[in-house]
C-alpha cells in the first residue's frame, strides 16, 4: 500500500476534563491540557464566565488548585503552567488596586486582563483550527491510494528534506564514533591477553592454524602483538610449529 502513515487522533476522547465529584474532590480524567491557555479556557467555560470579563480571582484560585492537584498526583508541571500562574496572580493583584488611582487618567486605564484575553482569543482560534485539521484527517482516512506497482519497486528511494540530511549526517557520525571506539577496544589487547587467548585455543583445539588466527586480527597492531605472542609461546611452552610446504600454512600444535 502506498498510503503514507495515517494520522488518527480522537479529539474528543483525549480532550481532558476535570470532573467535579459530589464530595467536592476534583478528579482528573485521562489526558493532559495542551498548555496553560488550554487549561484557562477550560476553567472559564467551567465557570460559565464571560471571556471578556473574566472573574480573575475565582479563575486564579481554580487554576492554582489544578496545579496543586497535579503536584499531588506527581504530574510534572511544565514551566509554562507556572509562568501562567504568576501572570494570573499579578493580574489579580492589579485588579485589587483601587480604581480611583486611575480615575484621573481615565483614558490611560487599561484593563489588566486585556492582554490575557487577547491571547486567549488568539489561542482559541488555533485550537479550533486544530480541531478542523483533526476532522480532515478522519475524512482522509477513508481514502486510499493504489497498491504497489512494478515501477515503484525499481524506485525504492527516499524523498529527502534538509532535516533528513541532518538526521542522516548525525547517524553517520554516530556510526563513525562507534567504529573508532571498537577500534580502540581492539587495539587495547595486550601481549598478555593475546598469549592467554592462544594458549586457550591450543589447549581446546590441540592445534591452531596461524593463517586463520592472523586473519582474525583486525588491525596492524593486533597482528604484530599476535605475531610476538606466537614467538613467545613457541619459546616458552611445549608447542611446535609445523609447516607442510614452503609458503604453506603454519600450524601451531601442542606437543
Amino acid at each position: 500500500m502506498q498510503q503514507t502513515e495515517q494520522i488518527s487522533f480522537d479529539f474528543y476522547k483525549e480532550t481532558p476534563q476535570i470532573v467535579g465529584e459530589a464530595n467536592e474532590e476534583i478528579k482528573l480524567k485521562l489526558g493532559e491540557f495542551a498548555g496553560p491557555l488550554d487549561l484557562l479556557l477550560y476553567l472559564i467555560k467551567q465557570e460559565q464566565a464571560n471571556i471578556f470579563d473574566i472573574p480573575i480571582a475565582r479563575i486564579t484560585d481554580e487554576y492554582l488548585r489544578y496545579i496543586r492537584l497535579m503536584e499531588s498526583f506527581d504530574i510534572t508541571i511544565a514551566g509554562d503552567f507556572l509562568v501562567m500562574a504568576a501572570t494570573l496572580i499579578e493580574i489579580k493583584s492589579k485588579m485589587l488596586l483601587p480604581r480611583e488611582i486611575f480615575a484621573d487618567a481615565e483614558e490611560d486605564f487599561a484593563d489588566p486582563r486585556q492582554e490575557l484575553v487577547d491571547r486567549l482569543l488568539e489561542y482559541e482560534k488555533f485550537k479550533s483550527a486544530a480541531q478542523m485539521l483533526y476532522e480532515r484527517t478522519t475524512v482522509e482516512q477513508a481514502v486510499f491510494t493504489r497498491g504497489q506497482i512494478e515501477s515503484d519497486e525499481n524506485n525504492a528511494e527516499v524523498n529527502a528534506t534538509v532535516f533528513d540530511l541532518l538526521n542522516v549526517f548525525q547517524k553517520i557520525l554516530a556510526r563513525h564514533k562507534e567504529e573508532i571506539q571498537l577500534e580502540i577496544q581492539r587495539e587495547e589487547i595486550t601481549l598478555a591477553e593475546m598469549l592467554k587467548q592462544i594458549k586457550k585455543r591450543i589447549f581446546k583445539e590441540k592445534e591452531l592454524s596461524l593463517l586463520k588466527f592472523f586473519n582474525e586480527m583486525h588491525t596492524k597492531r593486533e597482528l604484530v602483538t599476535a605475531f610476538i605472542a606466537v614467538l613467545e609461546i613457541v619459546r616458552t611452552e611445549s608447542v611446535k610449529l609445523l609447516q607442510n610446504k614452503t609458503f604453506g600454512d603454519i600450524i601451531l600444535r601442542k606437543v
Binding site: 500500500m1 502506498q2 498510503q3 503514507t4 502513515e5 495515517q6 494520522i7 488518527s8 487522533f9 479529539f11 483525549e14 480532550t15 489526558g31 495542551a34 498548555g35 496553560p36 491557555l37 471571556i51 511544565a78 514551566g79 509554562d80 503552567f81 501562567m84 491571547r119 482569543l121 488568539e122 489561542y123 482559541e124 482560534k125 488555533f126 485550537k127 479550533s128 483550527a129 486544530a130 480541531q131 478542523m132 485539521l133 483533526y134 480532515r136 484527517t137 475524512v139 482522509e140 482516512q141 477513508a142 481514502v143 486510499f144 491510494t145 493504489r146 506497482i149 515501477s151 515503484d152 524506485n155 528534506t161 534538509v162 532535516f163
Partner: protein, 185 residues
Amino acid sequence: MEVETEEKQPRSIGELVAIIEALIFVADEPLTVKILAEVLEEDRETIQSAVEELKQEYDERESGLQLREIAGGWQISTRTEFHEEVRRFLKTRPSAKLSLAALETLAVIAYKQPVTVPEILEIRGVQSASAIKTLLDKRLIIAKGRKETVGRPMQYGTSKDFLIQFGLKDLSELPSIEDFEDLVQ
C-alpha cells in the same frame, strides 16, 4: 531531458485523456498539470481540459475510484464510501496518533507560516519543541529558511505531505483563521 523529436502525431483528445489517466495511475504522488504538459509536450490548457474531462468521466462512472485534486496535482484514490471494506481488506487500523499538542502546533504552523519556535510558543503559551520534532519526523512540516532576526532562528512551514494527508488542494483551501473567531464562545 532528451526527447525523441520524431514528427509528433497530434493526439486525439480521447487518447490524451487515456494517457493522462495512465500517467496519474503510475505516478507515486499527485501529478501536476505542469508536469503532464512537459512530459506529453502539450500546452497546459490542453492538458487542463483533458484532466477535467477525465474528472467528469470518473464522477459519472459509479465506480470504486475517484480522481481528486490534491496538493496541487491529480491523484486516483478509492471512494470514501467504501473505506470500511478497504480497511478490512488491508487490515489497517488508524495508527500513528498525533497528540493534541502536535495538532495545535501544526495548526499554528499551517496558518502562520513561515513561523519560528518562539512565535509558536507565543501563541500556544507552551513549549512546542517535541511536537515540532514529531511533525518533522512525520514530514508534515519542513524547514523554511532562517528568520533574519537575532539568533537567526529556523522557520517552519507545512509540507506537500501535509496537503496530501489533510486532503488539501493547496493552502488557500484552508478556511481562513478569522472564520474560527465566530466559533469562539
